[in-house]
Amino acid sequence: MEATLERGNVLEQPPENLEGVPAWFNESRQAGWKRFLELAMPTRRDEEWRFARLKQLDFEGVHLPDPEPPAGHRGAAGLEKRAARFGFINDTLNESEVNLPEGVICLPLDQALAEHGELVAEHFMKSESTLGSAKFTALHQAHLSTGMFIYVPDNVQVADPIEVFHWLSGDHIITFPHTLVVTGRNAQVSVVDYFQSDSTARNAWAIAVNDLVAGPGSQLNYLVLQDLCDQARMIQVNTTTVARDATAKSFILNVGTAWARQESLSRMEGENAHSDMISVSIARDAQEYDQRTFQHHVSPRSYSDLLYKNTLYDESRTVFSGLIQVDEGAHFTDAYQTCRNLMMSETAEANSMPGLEINADQVKCSHGSTAAMIDDEEIFYLRARGIKSQIARQLVAQGFSVEAITRLRNEALEEIVLSFSAREFSRISERVVT
């Protein structure tokens, strides 16, 4: 009989030391594991997990993937014009293509650790996970072995986006995708993370961490296109720090998974720091998207604007919990937060918990959330032009998400998001035979 690989449950498996990485990285993995063991699993009593379905945190039989990933997988076609393209299957690099300006470091994390260990150390997992998933962030820290490290030096602009594909394949496997993007002074870059899987990824997990560090005057765009199969689950913890005069824009599209928990923190650390946090989720069947956000204004005269738009079909469910915090002394802050839910069925459920905490003067802040059914008069208008009811509903729902997508203000990025969302909307529209 062939010896089969010992596959222990990931929650009970301490990390082994990796070769070819700096000692501090292995120490960090062990520290992550220790922290993971110390922290308790979330409970219903935790404010950060209010309205969450904890039964989704099912790690029964979940294990690390085989070191040799299945071959032959390839994600979305991606962008026509790109500065680089990297692909991972189950956290193992399977493709790379680079066409970058000089000085830009864009490497798989393990390679970056070997070649630019000190630079990575300066920025690697520097932010505390505070929005509920600290235990899972620790698990990520313990087990992550690769990912992407992208560093754009001062005054370098990368015109076309960098694409990173994370592909999941196999029953009960768990991956730890990691993306760290650092921009120097007046640098510019756009990074697109794709999360996709084949249909074998049943009860599979991705626990992803992405840290974005936008240096002074820089512009950093970061997109997540989450398109996992309906049996996979995901936790994603995003931390963005925005320096003086920098603009960070993060965008999350959800069209897949059984359940995704996404925690996004943006910290305005310098004057005139600017953060846009945008998300579009298209939920159907029993899908659940649980999103927690934190707009943290540390510096005076900084700006943040959050717009999350959910379209809910069937029995789907969303949770949005957002906090704007303006620290003492962070005067003249402008901070906005909006979550809008378009209810496409009577049985879908949207939960919103917006929050504000202001400890400074001369502040302009607003927050609001809405949930509304589709507007009958819009549908009547479209149908009065001969458009069938089903298509009319699709167009209106699609239009609802467009307001968020066009905030990207970048034609290529908008197009790639629209191609995913349009595919999902027509899939939903076509499954109902009228």
Partner: protein
């Protein structure tokens, strides 16, 4: 071949608004319906288009012999009926170009794709004719449009969809004289032996620019008087009140 409305009764929330309305618009003719506020003008247009809020409680509507009331809202449009709305809805995130394209696509046989190049050529030509900036193709439908822009947009859609019967619901409301002329020119350019129009208006002014073959006066849910275009002038001169007196006397 005509659009024939016979003894039409319709109600909203249990209140009867149309109380036995009869009317025939043959192809090739323009009929105007005039009437005071609350007479049922807008109800008539909504009922013909098939709005769910209105319940038809009696009578019939046929379009070239086919039972219009049996058809779904979108089927009526594809069968050749067009309603230019008094208050067109705003549809956020759906561009004008995609909206009209979807309406055109809906008229294609199953499995056939609209040809984009000729579609845009046609669209641009008609926008030029109506003095609509081509940038509007990328704007969300009616969102942030002025009153005049909305009405031009309605006429643009009518031109693009080439209906057999066009119903213009208070197309003149909210228009300045220049916009009114553009809109009227658009409608006039579509007049043909194969097409009929029902122009609903409160004021005679529009009929200076779209000259009707017949004028009907609607009051309290019924056509109370029909005549030539002079009837509109008479109404303008004497107001709707004199009609009420006549109806009372006649009744």
């Amino acid at each position: 071949m005509s659009l024939v409305v016979k003894d039409l009764h319709a109600a909203i929330d249990g209140t009867e608004i149309l109380k036995g309305l009869s009317l025939e618009v043959p192809k090739g003719e323009v009929h105007a319906i005039m009437g005071p506020n609350g007479s049922g003008k807008s109800t008539l247009s909504k009922v013909l288009a098939g709005h769910d809020d209105y319940e038809v409680t009696g009578g019939s509507v046929t379009m070239d012999g086919a039972d219009l009331l049996e058809l779904e809202i979108d089927e009526r449009s594809r069968a050749g009926l067009f309603l230019a709305f008094q208050y067109p809805a705003e549809v956020p995130g759906v561009t004008m170009a995609n909206f009209i394209r979807a309406a055109r696509q809906a008229r294609m046989p199953e499995g056939e794709e609209l040809e984009a190049v000729s579609y845009y050529k046609d669209l641009y030509a008609k926008m030029d004719q109506l003095g609509i900036d081509r940038k509007f193709t990328a704007r969300a439908v009616n969102e942030g449009f002025s009153g005049g822009e909305k009405k031009r947009n309605e006429v643009l859609q009518m031109m693009m969809l080439d209906p057999v019967y066009g119903i213009m619901d208070e197309t003149d409301s909210g228009l300045d004289i220049d916009a009114l002329k553009v809109v009227a020119d658009g409608v006039n350019s579509m007049r043909s032996p194969g097409r009929g129009f029902l122009v609903i208006t409160h004021y005679q002014r529009l009929l200076d620019y779209i000259e009707p073959d017949h004028v009907h006066v609607l009051a309290d849910g019924q056509i109370v008087r029909s005549g030539g275009k002079d009837l509109a002038l008479e109404l303008e001169a004497r107001g709707y009140d004199f009609l009420k007196e006549e109806v009372v006397v006649a009744g």
